[in-house]
Structure formats: structure tokens, C-alpha cells
């Protein structure tokens, strides 16, 4: 061992370097993450999952769900829309400003166009373009806001509204990110399919709910038992070829209930600082949602009454 100290140093630096890069740096970066306020709402996010859902994470893990399903969405970019929520008091000035920012609209059409608010004026802009348009409209006394629309293939599939970020998984241990998508992404499955019965039927016989499903049936999460006095309220309602013989019923075991509770708790669609997002209220339905845009819209509803008379 002529080179003992050199070999030792080489091994030491190789291990210390990877520890520094893969353990210490991520720990310094996101190790101190705390729940934070959702954008424009005083609600803390994320909230710890309910107890049954936390047990469900164990079932999810034990059955290898993460081998075929991911829980991470990617986002290719972010587009800005300019949404006009209120015209203010000076309608002719707003129409002039509107014609300036939205070419291809004529005067009478613009007046017609303004009758249903809030609605997007321009879509798919960069932040700088959106800011410029908002400045023109707000200068005329209207109330325009920039609304944020994340885009990307994962989001186009309807799997979610924004990318997932580290904060979404703050209360999960272990984090079931997954790496293969043999099935769809589950980061928002609780928002996509909030029906517990659907999930139970889908676990028992996936093709009952999704014709082309490649998922294996998870019938070991259910039990077939003799109906004693009266049928259980949890008993599965199944088509004839799957139904148990008369006098028997199929009920989900506690594991199935926990797994479904976990799936229903999966939703990563809260607007956050690091993953901004605006939920646009439907035309004429301002205040109907709890989205940040709605809070802006409700405050503008009070503005015309407070506006100066001059």
C-alpha cells in the first residue's frame, strides 16, 4: 500500500462530494419547507392528510401502486391571460383602451363585448405583454388582472392544473413519487374523481370503470362473506357476471377503505407562490368560487359605488 493516504483521500472526497451534492444541498434547499398560505387565501397548504388516508399511504406502498403510477406533474411553461373584471365608470375610455389592446374589435362590438364580465381580453401572453395590456386598461379606469395559466403535456391530459412542487408532499412519508406511468398520474386523482364508490369498483374490477384499463384487479382488498341478518351498507353493487352467489356479499376490507381515503386526499391543485395559478371564474359568476381571482372581482364590485362623483 504505497498509496494508502492518497487512496483514502480519493475515497473520502468522492463520498464527501456526493454527500454534499445529494444530501446536504437538497437539505439546505428544501429541508426547511413549511406549510404556507395559498395564493390570495388565508388557508394553510398543505394540510396533513386525515388518519385513514395516512394508513392508506401504507396500503398504496405495500401494493406497489407507485410502480405503475406517478404523483408528479411537469409543466412546460406559463402563459398569462388578461382578464377584464370591471369597466369602472368611464366606458368610452375603456372602449378606446380595449380597441388599442385587442385589435380586430370594432367600436359597437366592443360595447357589446363589455356586457358580460369578467372575461379574458387576451390569452397566451408573456408576463411583460400582459402587464403592458393591463396598464393600458387600468389607465382608463377599468379593472384588469393578469391571470396565470400553466401549460404542458401533463396538464393538457387533464391530470392537474399546475406542476407539483416539493411542498405538495410535505406530510407524506415516504413520498410516493413513482417513476413509471403504466397508469395515469395520480397527483390530482382526488380532484379528478371524488367518488369513493368509483374507486372501490375500480379497485375490484378496473375494466368496469375504464374499458381499456391495464390495472390488475385488487380483489384481495375485498372479502366475500355470507349475509348474516341484513346486507352490509358497504356491500359492492356489481354486474351479474361478477356478483357473488345469492346469500353472499362482497365488502371492502379496511385496507381498501384506507387506500380509497388516501386516493381521495390526493390533490395538488392549490395555487402557491412557487407554482402560481389563477382559477378563472365563469362569466357572470364572480364570487362563485374561492379562487384568488374571485376575491379580486368581489372587491371591484364595490368600487363603482365608492368612485368619485366628479
Amino acid at each position: 500500500m504505497n498509496y494508502g493516504p492518497l487512496l483514502f483521500l480519493a475515497a473520502f472526497f468522492a463520498l464527501a462530494g456526493s454527500w454534499f451534492g445529494f444530501v446536504l444541498t437538497p437539505q439546505a434547499q428544501i429541508g426547511q419547507l413549511q406549510p404556507t398560505n395559498m395564493l390570495g387565501a388565508p388557508t394553510l397548504y398543505p394540510q396533513a392528510r386525515p388518519g385513514l388516508a395516512r394508513q392508506g399511504l401504507g396500503v398504496y406502498r405495500a401494493n406497489g401502486c407507485a410502480d405503475c403510477h406517478t404523483q408528479q406533474l411537469r409543466q412546460r411553461g406559463t402563459l398569462c391571460d388578461v382578464v377584464l373584471s370591471d369597466t369602472g365608470t368611464n366606458i368610452p375610455a375603456v372602449i378606446t383602451a380595449l380597441l388599442k389592446v385587442k385589435p380586430g374589435l370594432s367600436g359597437p362590438a366592443a360595447r357589446q363585448w363589455l356586457s358580460v364580465l369578467p372575461r379574458p381580453v387576451l390569452q397566451g401572453l408573456t408576463p411583460a405583454e400582459a402587464d403592458a395590456a393591463v396598464r393600458v386598461l387600468n389607465g382608463a379606469g377599468a379593472k384588469a388582472t393578469v391571470s396565470i395559466v400553466p401549460v404542458g403535456p401533463d396538464l393538457a391530459r387533464g391530470w392537474g392544473k399546475r406542476r407539483t412542487v416539493a411542498r405538495d408532499f410535505l406530510f407524506d412519508y415516504p413520498v410516493a413519487l413513482g417513476s413509471q406511468r403504466i397508469g395515469p398520474d395520480l397527483a390530482n386523482v382526488g380532484a379528478r374523481q371524488p367518488d369513493a364508490g368509483w374507486h372501490l369498483r375500480h379497485l375490484y374490477a378496473p375494466r368496469l370503470e375504464v374499458k381499456v384499463s391495464a390495472m390488475p384487479p385488487h380483489r384481495f382488498l375485498f372479502e366475500k362473506r355470507k349475509i348474516e341478518r341484513s346486507p352490509s351498507p358497504d356491500a359492492m353493487v356489481l354486474p351479474r357476471d361478477l356478483a357473488p352467489p345469492p346469500g353472499y356479499e362482497i365488502v371492502p376490507k379496511p385496507e381498501a377503505g384506507a387506500l380509497v381515503a388516501y386516493l381521495l386526499s390526493l390533490r395538488a391543485d392549490a395555487p402557491l407562490f412557487e407554482a402560481p395559478l389563477t382559477v378563472i371564474p365563469a362569466p357572470g359568476a364572480a364570487g362563485a368560487t374561492n379562487a384568488p381571482a374571485a376575491s379580486g372581482a368581489t372587491s371591484t364590485n364595490a368600487a363603482p359605488t365608492k368612485a368619485p362623483a366628479k
Binding site: T78, P127, R135, G139, V146, I148, P271, E274, P276, K306
Partner: protein, 190 residues
């Protein structure tokens, strides 16, 4: 029997210069890429955002009180007495240009349009004794913030902007106050 030759050994060859140059070019390119897209290890920067400024630009927002809006409100309301060049009118209203009330704490300045100001007040070395009504009490928060920002940043004034949140806080603090301020009262405030 062939003659015994020396033990074969590895020769020395210097690292080619082009390889070193290529290495440094790659290193430089990597650092430029990291600087541009890495977000500098910020916990709140994720792809597709390249930096914290990028994330901030993509927050939903209303554009804030714009200068044009502030100017429009000023010329409609304040400029009638304080003049559109901010120099005031003798016997009618003191100037905004070079006024320590304007460029001082926004906390004091917000109170004047909300409740008015009456009695003797010293502005830029001149004594004034007039009464201003609560001209801004009926304005929405963002319009008032816009016009105050316009006053604080026009005609050579270079003070900080006033945000609608500040106006809202002061308005809440004043409640239903209807008495105009006096200069002494304002000076006693923090």
C-alpha cells in the same frame, strides 16, 4: 534466445492543449447555463421558471396603481387647487414640489386626503393657514394610492410609491374620523 529488453513502461504524454481548452469551454458553458436556468438553489424556483424574478412576474396580479391612473385622478381632483404642475396656488393650496410633507413618511401623507387638514402649516419655508376638506375619503384604495404615488414621484419628487395596502391600513385605523388634522397632530404621529 532474443536479447533481454527493458521492462515495458508507460510513456509520458502531455495533456493536449485542445482538450484543456475544450474542458474550460464546457465548464464555462455549464456555468452560464446554471446561472441562467438554475434558480440559484432557491426553494421556490422550479422548472419552467428560471429565477425568482421569473416566478414573481408570473404571480396573478392586477398591475398595481398605474402612473396614468394616478395622473388622471390628480387632474380631476387635486389639480384643481394644487395646480396640474404641483406648484400650488397662492391663497388656495400649498405646493407639492419640494414639500417635506409629500416626500416624507407616506403614513402622514395618506391621512391628509382621507380626513383633510386645517390650520397653520409650514410647507417649504412658507406659512400657510387654510383648510383642506377630506377630498380623498371617497376614492377607492387603489386610486388614492395611485394619485399619492403620482404626487410623490412627479415634478422632481422622488419618494417611495404608496401601495393600496398602506391606504387600506390607514383607512381602517382612522375608522369614522371626520375631524380634519392639524399640522401639530400629524407631526406628533410616528
Amino acid at each position: 534466445m532474443p536479447p533481454e529488453t527493458a521492462e515495458p513502461g508507460a510513456g509520458n504524454m502531455p495533456v493536449p492543449v485542445w482538450l484543456m481548452v475544450l474542458f474550460f469551454v464546457l465548464l464555462y458553458g455549464g456555468m452560464v447555463f446554471f446561472d441562467r436556468y438554475g434558480g440559484w438553489f432557491d426553494a421556490e424556483v422550479y422548472m419552467p421558471y428560471a429565477s425568482l424574478a421569473d416566478v414573481q412576474a408570473c404571480q396573478p396580479h392586477g398591475g398595481g396603481p398605474s402612473a396614468e391612473r394616478g395622473r388622471a385622478v390628480y387632474e380631476n381632483i387635486c389639480g384643481l387647487c394644487h395646480n396640474s404642475d404641483g406648484k400650488g396656488r397662492p391663497g388656495q393650496a400649498p405646493p407639492f414640489v419640494g414639500s417635506e410633507w409629500v416626500t416624507g413618511s407616506p403614513n402622514l401623507m395618506i391621512r391628509i386626503p382621507l380626513s383633510g387638514l386645517s390650520g397653520p402649516v409650514r410647507v417649504d419655508g412658507t406659512e400657510w393657514n387654510l383648510s383642506m376638506p377630506a377630498m380623498g375619503a371617497a376614492l377607492p384604495d387603489d386610486d388614492l394610492a395611485g394619485v399619492l404615488t403620482y404626487i410623490r414621484q412627479s415634478w422632481g419628487n422622488k419618494a417611495s410609491a404608496v401601495t393600496p395596502e398602506q391606504v387600506k391600513a390607514v383607512r381602517a385605523e382612522l375608522g369614522a374620523r371626520s375631524q380634519p388634522w392639524t399640522a401639530e397632530q400629524l407631526k406628533a404621529l410616528p
